[in-house]
């Protein structure tokens, strides 16, 4: 059983996560920017430490529909991660990718969902490759899984993952865009032992 828990998170650790989030989101922004052929800027990510049971309402009201992309990670680090988008941001990204007007709005069809899954996959993988580069750990992501549903329902998945170890969860919010700003949220859910590995690899053993 690992030593580290989110109940005893200190400022240094939050700073490290913010930095990983920063580099990861930077990588992700570059990837999305080149895929869509548009210029995108990004803001410094915000790292929030909150109660796991409050995750459901952490990014919007509990019954608002959002998009969640979920990947499992393995090899040196075991666990999973999620990337979340609000509907307007998801719609904007799909429109750009599918060559539609930016303000086009309709229900997602199979093709849109597949495009969205791919965007989420690229964003999540960019984030993970930043983490991998900083820690020198091999991190292999699974294929992406997608869900479009109520925020509380989608966020029950990370809430449960964090809930197994304690009462706290970490949420990283990034903002990128140009005229339109897109809000994306990362949630990294390492298994207990993997926290120690990440911290040790960063020279931050407890």
């Amino acid at each position: 059983m690992g030593k580290f828990t989110l109940e005893e998170v200190n400022d240094v650790y939050v700073d490290v996560l913010r930095e990983i989030g920063n580099i990861g989101a930077g990588n992700a922004t570059t990837a999305v920017s080149s895929m869509l052929g548009i210029r995108l800027d990004m803001n410094v990510p915000k790292v929030a430490l909150l109660e796991a049971s409050k995750l459901g309402s952490a990014i919007c009201s509990e019954d608002e529909i959002i998009v969640g992309i979920f990947l499992e990670v393995q090899t040196d680090i075991e666990g999973s991660m999620m990337f979340l988008l609000k509907m307007d941001s998801a719609q904007f990204l799909v429109n750009m990718l599918m060559g539609r007007d930016a303000d086009h709005a309709c229900e997602f069809d199979e093709m849109d969902l597949s495009a969205l899954k791919e965007i989420g996959n690229i964003i999540a993988a960019s984030y993970l490759s930043a983490l991998s580069a900083m820690t020198n750990l091999v991190i292999t992501p699974s294929i992406p899984y997608i869900a479009v549903d109520m925020a509380a329902s989608i966020l029950s998945v990370p809430a449960i993952q964090f809930g197994q170890f304690g009462d706290n969860a970490l949420l990283i919010e990034t903002e990128f865009g140009d005229d339109v700003m897109i809000n994306g949220y990362f949630i990294l859910m390492p298994e207990q032992d993997s926290y120690d590995k990440i911290l040790t690899a960063l020279g931050l053993s407890l």
Binding site: T5, E7, A52, S53, K54, L55, G56, E62, D63, I65, G68, F70, E72, S80, S142, Y145, I146, A147, V148, D149, M150, A151, A152, S153, I154, L155, S156, V157, A159, I160, Q161, G163, Q164, F165, G166, D167
Partner: protein, 161 residues
């Protein structure tokens, strides 16, 4: 005029007719209700995990099936419900992402639903209706005037169980 009592994640509360008790966006968690059709007293627990005994940190009793269901039972009886008349309905326990294999994410919903049935059997309380599993979120409402349990999901017609 009835009021609506909201229950959050890892939370529980009781309710009396004509009021309504609700929890929004159940994913892999379970919403379990008790209801006494005579006194019209009910209650709802929204738990996240099946078993408190497997956890190091289990101080929040509403987070787990075993401790959460026991506490809800204690509270509805304290409020005046008759234990022998109590019936239970459950919803949630979805698999939000179609993850393959036997990882925790792929089967936690199922394990949560199973934990409810196991605990109810142990407490000898009848489970009279359930809407669990599949791959979507559910918002639920227990109407304490009738005992009806409303289930709403995105893109689906609301149903009553």
């Amino acid at each position: 005029m009835s009021k609506v009592i909201k229950v959050g994640m890892a939370d529980l509360n009781i309710c009396k007719s004509p009021d309504i008790i609700t929890t929004i966006g159940l994913g892999s968690c379970i919403g379990l209700t008790f209801y006494d059709p005579v006194s019209k007293i009910g209650g709802l627990v929204h738990y996240m995990l099946p078993d408190s005994t497997q956890m190091r940190n289990n101080s929040n009793i509403a987070k787990f099936a075993d401790t959460g269901i026991e506490e809800l039972l204690r509270q509805v009886i304290k409020a005046g419900a008759n234990r022998n008349r109590l019936v239970s309905k459950i919803a949630g326990g979805a698999k939000m992402f179609e993850v393959s294999g036997m990882s925790n994410v792929s089967n936690i919903g199922e394990r949560n639903a199973f934990a409810a049935k196991q605990k109810l059997r142990e407490l000898r309380i009848r489970l009279i209706a359930e809407d669990t599993g599949l791959n979507y979120g559910r918002t639920v409402e227990l109407h304490c005037d009738t005992g009806e349990f409303y289930i709403k999901a995105i893109g689906k017609t609301p149903k009553i169980i």
